[in-house]
Symmetry: D2
Subunit: 334 residues, 4 copies
């Protein structure tokens, strides 16, 4: 198929490349000339404006927007909506808030256009491994785009097959899925990321508990000098916690179990926050997913105001004066 | 009554003073000569050894040990047990782990002595306000010691009376209570402190949320310039959250709403930890009490190992390079 | 002053009564005729429509809307906005979402009217004790309404005074406060309720831990037969956790420590949820406030879907078959 | 090698079978005659008492105890210690608390015997897939037992290799690891299970959030009719959350996405609890691992006492009467 691709960052660029490797033709745009040139070298037709892209594509046009969620995506899709024609398709492959998809899809629908939201997982590994895609939109459009998704998806690979009911959608086993109407793709991807935060935090806490058994001041029987890199590695084989995230832990810990090169300032993207918002809307308890998000918030601060207020209350009722700027006294109970 | 008091720190010294102000006679010991001298000036008989205290007291002796929980209390009570006689009473007024009380009380019982554990709340205000006491031990001994407890307790004060069933224990309205067998006093005090951590953390989080609405970069309609000192003060009158801890917040915030003089390194004592251990033994969910404890643990560290592992995993799947030593980017969603 | 009051439920009716007891004149409306009649008997002028209220009040009019937050408040204020004149004041005393206040206040401002949002705490006790009020709106309007607020507020009472800086707003010590621009009153009340949930949950967990020590099957040294009603009562005197919520615990437990008459289905109102949403917007960790909210969500369900999925995973890796409908096996470790 | 195996349950029986399939000779004991007979049919020498096992094995003897953690394991190892000789080896392959290992290993060491603790993951799949093993004990003994562990381990399989430092222990890539001194094997396995709880709860919450979007009463744009079975399946390919636990979710959901056959009463074993105890000893925040444990506690109860106390407080300050036995009102905000 022929497809336009807007946004040639790490994700967008590799999506174009994976499409072209499988014979699709890509018209690409990015406001960065180097990014355009790199893709042109790899076989894409690079254009220098949205208008040029609209002109370059045959109707009905298919344009995949792969930009940071928020204002820039909103504006780009807004501009496209003004330029495109009835029957054209806009795909938002970024990390858009699902309620924005629902809203936008209605706008496009009124103009006879089609809106498809694709939640995409796979990170920097997608070019080789393929992208796991959760796709929201009307059935006819998603079916029409199947060649694109089939190319981008990782395929069945050698992953053991699940026993599924007769008639189950075979696309799912290839790593892509039509999740439902517009918004449902990003909703599903949002929860995916919420879960991802929870899984990461579970590993992080567990390794922290193990690594703290290595402190020299601990008495015999309490100190174990655990090789956390080897522990991650051994769990990769046959244990219940084996997972891609564990693979990443093993890989990082093998390079240096103290992780000295990592800051511990942990960013979060919108999906983790929106997942909690969705849970609260639904009255679903989401302790673990919330805690994982809060751990990231906390990681980006020195002392919080909340903690200073705790100190102040302790001073008030007990006369406790707590150190300022002292080295952390981990493990100490006063 | 005549009573021996071991440990003349902030708590022990004031307990002796409050007893003497009400006519009790105190024989006191501390290994710090200044502390002994200060109490002697206030009317106590200061002795320079445990043996001297045992000698100075008439039988049956009553000795109140008011030392830091752990080894020093354990050793002191161990030595006393060797020196005392049948019928004597040992009171542990510190923050002892309740299982230690159960164990010790059995040792004393076998020697015909009595063990009483007193959980004491009231902090630095106890001398004037009195101490809220939760008392574990055999009924006869606790009844015998009633004059001591009646003096130390805050009394009914002008606190509105609760409608209680006929025959309810009147001592409770005066601020002291026989909670049950040995260990039950410290168990009750332990849970008290667990709850205290939870209450403190609830206030701390709430004020943090309010104070964060004052950031200059927030747009109109989002920024409120809230006077958090006044908010604490106004809530003291008629609101559902009015409490002593709120009084302390109001007082601290009135002195400077930014709390710049407080470190935010928040210590924890054994009771908070043991409360969680008790909850887990009982299979009682204790989310809030645990979170309050963990917030203190976290407050005493720079970046945790857990957070560095999160950074490492993010690097692994997304190529995210996170800043090290950058100023905290609070409120940023990437 | 003369004031219109819309909504004569538990809160609105008592607000009118407290105002009239202090000499204010109330024109009242409710769509329930009995509610109108009850207030008329207590001295109010009852009207049978919004239009009649607008007609009955002298300009500039002051109308206090005390209705459930959401659609009904929104519609009522919308209708009022059409009927009122320049200079009139609309007060929303309900539990409105603060962003709705910000929006509405702009609409009214454009018409030359004034919007005031009043977060009100005090529950069913407000008629006697007064209401703690957090007031958002423009300064001139809030100052103009001072006689109303002064009447409704609890006053300084005999609550010990906090040492406050010179020039601190004296209204605050009487239990009401101008928190800032429109929206800030409900924002402050929202966080108040978020904190309230956290405080309640801290007490709830702590008493659960204590009450679980009373189970007959526990061995000596583990079982304490704690009188939880007396414990709540004793803590009311001199302990760090003394608070209004503790008073309520003491009162409820005195009537029956097993709390058999209470369902344990715990509702939540919008404020608890919005507090978490605000925390997430601000990237403030709010573990305790979130956990308190989730405990309520969980309390309203039998088994969650999440729990069934845990059972299913356990079946998958371990062949664990878990009982369905068996009596809860609290405290059991398998 | 020749090895004795005590405890022929699901785990112990399959361990014996996997050993015999690889040419090891097993002397087996269980107090259940059927279990003994089944293993005898598969080639083991079944004996009818511990004494008979001790007699049947050549010195130095190796005996693997595979019994439920706690009293029965403690007693069995205690009896063995009386019967065995210098140089003999006792392996505890159960889920023993690591501090019990430390204690026991000292007892055996004084008698010249060797104690090895093996944390074993792999569940019912171990016979075919092999067991992931974390092994604590002295180096010489663990090396001596290598043929046993090599047989039981899953082997390297086709799992992609991690780039490890030169000289890294090759056994780890085969799925078994000498973690350090006695106790360290079970400590590592304990944390493994703590992490497992966290991972499971993250998936459980996420799927609960998705499934709640399928409720018929939701408006368009909010309701998605998500096929959660297909979502689990699609995430198995290329997504960041791919893992064995996700495989299990996919498998269970494919059989019926409502999971009606699962109770939602979720048991917990000691490891989850001990992990939190270890975290608290070390002052490591473990929000996610704790929440996962508490969710299981909560799942085994109808309404908690804590929740009834919340109802009681709400009645106290607001006159809220909450339904008893009403259908859960999920998603309702009052």
């Amino acid at each position: 198929m022929q497809i336009g691709l807007i946004g040639l960052g790490r994700m967008g660029g590799n999506i174009a490349r994976r499409l072209m490797l499988d014979g699709h033709q890509c018209v690409v745009y990015d406001n960065n000339a180097d990014a355009r040139a790199a893709l042109a070298k790899d076989g894409a037709t690079a254009v220098t404006s949205l208008a040029a892209m609209v002109e370059a594509l045959p109707t009905p046009r298919t344009i995949w927007v792969m930009l940071p969620a928020g204002e820039i995506t909103e504006n780009t899709i807004g501009q496209l909506t003004e330029m495109l024609s009835k029957g054209d398709i806009v795909i938002d492959g970024g990390n858009t808030f699902y309620k924005d998809d629902v809203r936008r899809s209605k706008v496009l629908e009124q103009k006879g256009m089609h809106y498809v939201d694709v939640g995409t997982s796979g990170g920097v590994w997608g070019l080789q491994r393929g992208y796991c895609m959760m796709i929201g939109g009307d059935k006819a459009t998603v079916d029409y785009l199947d060649p694109i998704f089939a190319t981008l998806a990782p395929g069945a690979g050698d992953i053991p097959r699940t026993e599924r009911p007769a008639g189950a959608d075979p696309r799912v086993e290839n790593g892509y899925m039509h999740t439902g109407p517009a918004g449902s793709g990003h909703f599903t991807k949002m929860v995916h990321n919420g879960i991802e935060y929870g899984l990461m935090q579970a590993f992080a806490e567990g390794f922290d508990i193990m690594r703290n058994r290595n402190q020299p001041q601990l008495p015999d029987g309490e100190r174990f000098d655990l090789n956390v890199a080897d522990i991650a590695e051994v769990w990769r084989r046959g244990s219940v916690v084996s997972s891609w995230l564990l693979d990443l832990c093993a890989s990082a810990l093998a390079k240096g179990p103290e992780l000295d090169n990592y800051s511990g300032y942990v960013d979060d993207s919108g999906e983790g926050r929106w997942t909690i918002a969705a849970a609260i809307e639904e009255a679903v308890p989401a302790e673990v997913l919330s805690s994982a998000l809060y751990a990231r918030f906390r990681s980006r601060q020195e002392h919080t105001y909340a903690e200073r207020l705790l100190s102040a209350m302790r001073m008030g009722f007990g006369g406790h004066i707590e150190g300022r700027g002292q080295p952390p006294k981990q493990g100490e109970a006063s």
